[in-house]
Amino acid sequence: MDVLKNLDWSPLYVSFKTGAAATFVCFFLGIFAAERVMRLPTGRRAFVDGILTMPLILPPTAAGFFLLLLFSRRRPLGSFLFQNFGIKVVQTWLGCIIAAGVIAFPLMYKNARAAFEQVDVNLIYAGRTLGMSEFQIFRKVVFPAARPGITSGTILTFARAMGEYGATSMLAGNIPGKTGTISQKIAMVIQDGDYHTAGIWVIIVLLTAFAAVFCMNLSAGKRTKNMKRW
């Protein structure tokens, strides 16, 4: 119990903050990308989809490498951001969000796209013939019809962003209280041989991740309660 008392809770706080911020950004970007990609002609769609899905398949360290390449202050984009806006990405909380966001983005995008694609096209046609604008149709018809898929996408994105390790450690480093997330904390204390603290953090991660998925299943279960099982 002494361990719990003396525990520095900042990793939980940092992880949660990072997860929330990354999910917020991914939510809009993922939906936007899904809606756009769906309308592309087949060839280009396969290409763009491939690129957007990459972070999910690549080892996170490879993604981290690309991100460093982009945002390092010795590189064009990184130096441009710093000199013009004073924005630092590497070794900052912003880097945390970007790394977690990039890695988790495909989950949001893929789920949103699958959800949009199963929306009955006649609903959209009906909206058009009823004089609704495209934005109205999206907001009032397509989005609600796709909501279950979007909800699960959001929760998965959050869970993934919160637990991200590889890319985050490369881009944002492990600065306690700033960029030190739970996953980095676990790696660090294990290197020190402190299995006790590691175990506590593992349990915390397990509980939060499971709670997220459990909530998702509950909300999905509500919608499918009238469906027969096979």
Partner: protein, 354 residues
């Protein structure tokens, strides 16, 4: 509202080419599945663009490839009843009806109330489409369209997915509800009965082309073309060789037919409705075929006999003829047994062109 269509569109298997002008208020489009009839409706609504041509509804040009006009569906003022009704699943009945209403909040409320009353949806306002029966869904979909006050209503096989019992009732209901609608309504269907009840003018489509177009009753009385006859359900059709002005050989039936009427020169086939045969006992008369039963089927209210044609075996033409007899009318049949011959009444023969 006059509807004027002159369109062309390439599809995968065939192309749609239609040129039609109608000022009738109830138009039916009949055709087999996949003949392009739904696509035609979608082009009218602006959901799918034709490649070439012109669409005019009333005085408004909706599409004109030469002048690069293509009015968006939301500005066409056309109501579309989809096969699955396409009610917005996340909206209540009330919200669905309000979806197309133009005007302010007060107007919106008033229209929704008016439509819920007219389409007997009181008490269901707060329900979601998934909680409605098929009939209630249809009424909601119609209420939504009517609240929008369209000049033209397009009905895309509204009962395609229903069983017969429900179908008859919903059809009756739909016809009733459309009675006081003053605009043009176009119904697409593959059911002859539905189309017959509904339409003043009828377009029969085959592979994207018009097989017949005209007053509905006229077409049912005299379909004129082979494809049209087949689509309105004429079962007995045979190619003919014209021998002289009053005699022709029905090749696929294997018999000679005589008519008092002069046979038009361009006649390619002859047709007879399955219930028009006259049974003959004893010696054969003119225009008779031997009653050689291939198979028979008993239906609840009808007997169906399938009769072998008198062509030679192996001539390639073995499609049987159909004779339908309503039960209760076959008294003579039960007393005297099956007839020896079936007579083609010459005044009922349909002359068909290619």
């Amino acid at each position: 509202m006059a509807v004027c269509i002159d369109i062309k569109k390439e599809l995968e298997e065939f192309s749609i080419e239609l040129k039609i002008k109608s000022s009738s208020n109830r138009i039916g489009i009949l055709g087999a599945s996949g003949c392009g009839k739904s696509m035609t409706l979608k082009m009218l609504a602006g959901i799918e663009p034709p490649e070439k041509g012109r669409i005019q509804i009333g005085s408004k040009v909706m599409f004109d490839s030469e002048n690069r006009i293509n009015v968006k569906p939301k500005n066409r003022n056309v109501g579309y009843l989809f096969q699955n009704y396409a009610l917005f699943p996340a909206m209540t009945v009330e919200e669905n009806i309000a979806a197309g209403v133009r005007g302010g909040k007060e107007e919106n409320k008033r229209r929704v109330r008016e439509m819920t009353e007219r389409f007997r949806l009181e008490g269901l306002e707060k329900r979601f489409p998934g909680e409605l029966s098929g009939g209630q869904q249809q009424r909601t979909a119609l209420a939504r369209i009517m609240a929008y006050e369209p000049e033209v209503i397009l009905l895309d096989e509204p009962y395609g997915a229903l069983d017969t019992f429900l179908r008859d009732r919903l059809e009756q209901e739909l016809l009733n509800m459309l009675k006081d609608y003053e605009g043009t309504a176009i119904l697409v269907s593959h059911s002859r009965d539905e189309i017959y009840r509904f339409s003043e003018e009828l377009l029969i489509m085959e592979e994207g082309k018009a097989a017949a177009f005209g007053k509905s009753r006229d077409i049912f009385e005299n379909p004129q073309k082979i494809a049209a006859a087949r689509l309105i359900g004429c079962k007995n059709i045979s190619r003919v060789e014209i021998l002289d002005k009053h005699h022709m050989k029905a090749v696929d039936f294997g018999i000679l037919l005589y008519t008092k009427r002069e046979i038009p020169e361009d006649t390619a086939a002859v047709g007879l409705w399955a219930h028009e045969f006259v049974p003959v006992w004893g010696a054969p008369q003119e225009n008779c075929i031997r009653m050689q039963i291939e198979s028979r089927a008993e239906l609840p209210f009808e007997w169906k006999f399938y009769i072998k044609p008198e062509t030679e075996e192996g001539s390639g033409q073995e499609e049987s003829l159909c004779w339908f007899v309503q039960k209760g009318k076959e008294k003579e049949l039960s007393e005297r047994g099956l007839p020896d011959y079936l007579k083609f009444p010459e005044e009922k023969l349909l002359f068909l062109k290619e």
